[in-house]
């Protein structure tokens, strides 16, 4: 690891001032991804700004009837929060299917949003990677790409976003609250992460001088019909090959509102209007689920080792919807 300085800050304003004058400084909270990347020499911050003493570790109800989750709440504390378990069970489920108990006890909500891809070439500094070093080339496109993206890919990068939590947040229409020296703003979760395009080095639309302070959940939590289906190479403690967050509002067998988001398939959690439109107002039937799955994977493209993901993702969408609708299979 390289040498770095350490600063502990008491409030958001002081944290923002440090990174304003030292852009190579980085915030640290749980550190589960950042410290690992520093050991790998992928991240080389000149200074770590310890934000764990900032007052951002609470979960509160909002005046709109939703929930505000502070950026420093740990993943475990979100998943096991009584209000989250009762009102947003999809979110609890998704978080508990990610990482390990130890990591969930450390990792923060803000850090989960900011975590980097687990593409093995991104981690391996002896190989070219456009995300690490823009313009160097992508080793994954013609390399070992079993875990890589099949949707929204670019000629420069086929890495995936590794988060489970963010897939559920996308299905739930969460909003990310951020603060910069110019004040606060809100970014919908759909706009928070970016596609790789020709700037795969930039993962999110958070500006370099901003900080995540909270995530807001709207009032509707889809408490009756939901499923976070995660398919991986081992039963637990592995990243998703494909994951699906499905949430339905049902009236008898009729779907009044459908939400479907996927993880493990793109540079950002993936959600499209068309598949949901194909479900809204229709009956919850295997045939309709299949049509939605086909629409969800429209334009999907494999790179060799990950070709199987296209069929797998379609089946995962059908199964997640079937389980959410509580249909007999």
């Amino acid at each position: 690891m390289n040498t770095f300085s350490y600063t502990r800050v008491p409030d958001v304003a002081s944290a923002l001032r440090v990174i304003a004058v030292e852009p190579t400084a980085k915030f640290i909270a749980g550190g589960t991804n950042l410290v690992d990347l520093m050991k790998e020499n992928v991240e080389r911050p000149t200074r770590l700004v310890d934000i764990t003493h900032l007052p951002l570790a609470e979960i509160q109800t909002t005046t709109e009837g939703g929930l505000r989750i502070g950026a420093l709440v740990t993943n475990a504390d979100v998943a096991y929060n009584e209000l989250v378990e009762r009102r947003y069970p999809l979110l609890s489920q998704a978080i508990l299917r990610g990482a390990s108990a130890q990591l969930r006890n450390m990792a923060s909500v803000g850090g989960n949003l900011m975590q980097r891809t687990r593409c093995s070439y991104f981690y391996d500094t002896s190989t070219p990677c456009n995300k690490r070093n823009r313009g160097a080339g992508c080793s994954a496109i013609e390399g070992f790409n079993r875990y890589h993206a099949i949707l929204g890919t670019s000629d420069d990068c086929i890495a995936t976003n590794p988060s489970d939590m963010c897939v559920a947040l996308l299905a739930l229409d969460a909003v990310v609250r951020v603060t910069g020296l110019d004040g606060e703003r809100q970014i919908t979760i759909a706009d928070f992460h970016r596609l790789a395009g020709d700037t795969p080095n930039i993962d999110t639309n958070l500006k370099p001088d901003e900080m995540i302070t909270a995530v807001d959940l709207p009032s509707r939590g889809f408490t009756e019909h939901y499923e976070y289906l995660k398919i991986r190479d081992r039963t637990s403690y592995a990243f998703a090959l494909v994951s699906v967050a499905a949430a339905l509002e049902m009236n008898g067998n009729k779907i009044s509102e459908a939400r479907v988001a996927m993880g493990g398939v793109a540079h950002k959690p993936w959600r499209q209007k068309e598949p949901e439109a194909l479900l809204n107002g229709r009956a919850a039937t295997p045939d309709n689920f299949q049509k939605a799955a086909e629409a969800m994977l429209r334009g999907a493209k494999g790179f060799g080792h990950n070709d199987f993901k296209i069929a797998l993702a379609k089946r995962a969408v059908v199964r997640a919807l079937t389980q959410a609708a509580k249909l007999e299979r």
Partner: protein
């Protein structure tokens, strides 16, 4: 934190396995919660209470989980054992286990390359059962 424990405090019970948060050998309890010490910066936990495997026994008396691991032969080489036991202590205080499947899921952050999993689950199950019995 892992290096601070091992290299500066000579508390070598906590083990360095992968050093990347993937194996769980370095698991310790911080203010009662299980964490990976290899990904934790000691300076950030100033004032926190760290419990390692050395701190679980009461003099010569083993912690119930330590005794259960011995009774069930829940290890072979023993390298992952301090992490397994500290993780299990955290698991018990979390109170989320309803059956053995929950133990397997919630202990998945601790890898045992000797494959002593069956006996590890049995040891933890016994301690949970004894705790429930004692409560009655």
């Amino acid at each position: 934190l892992l290096d601070a424990l091992r290299e500066y405090l000579d508390l070598t019970g906590t083990k360095k396995g992968c050093d990347h948060g993937q194996c769980g050998a370095c698991t310790v309890l911080l203010d009662g919660k299980r964490i990976n010490s290899c990904l934790t910066l000691a300076i950030m936990k100033d004032g926190g209470e760290v419990t390692t495997i050395e701190g679980l026994s009461d003099g010569d008396g083993l912690h119930p989980l330590q005794q259960a691991f011995v009774d069930h032969d829940a290890f072979q080489c023993g390298y992952c054992t301090p992490g397994q036991i500290c993780s299990a202590v955290g698991l018990l205080s979390e109170g989320r286990v309803k059956g053995s499947d929950d133990i397997r899921e919630l202990m998945s952050g601790n890898i045992c390359r000797c494959g002593a999993y069956l006996n590890i689950v049995a040891a933890i199950e016994e301690v949970i059962a004894n705790k429930r019995e004692a409560k009655r």
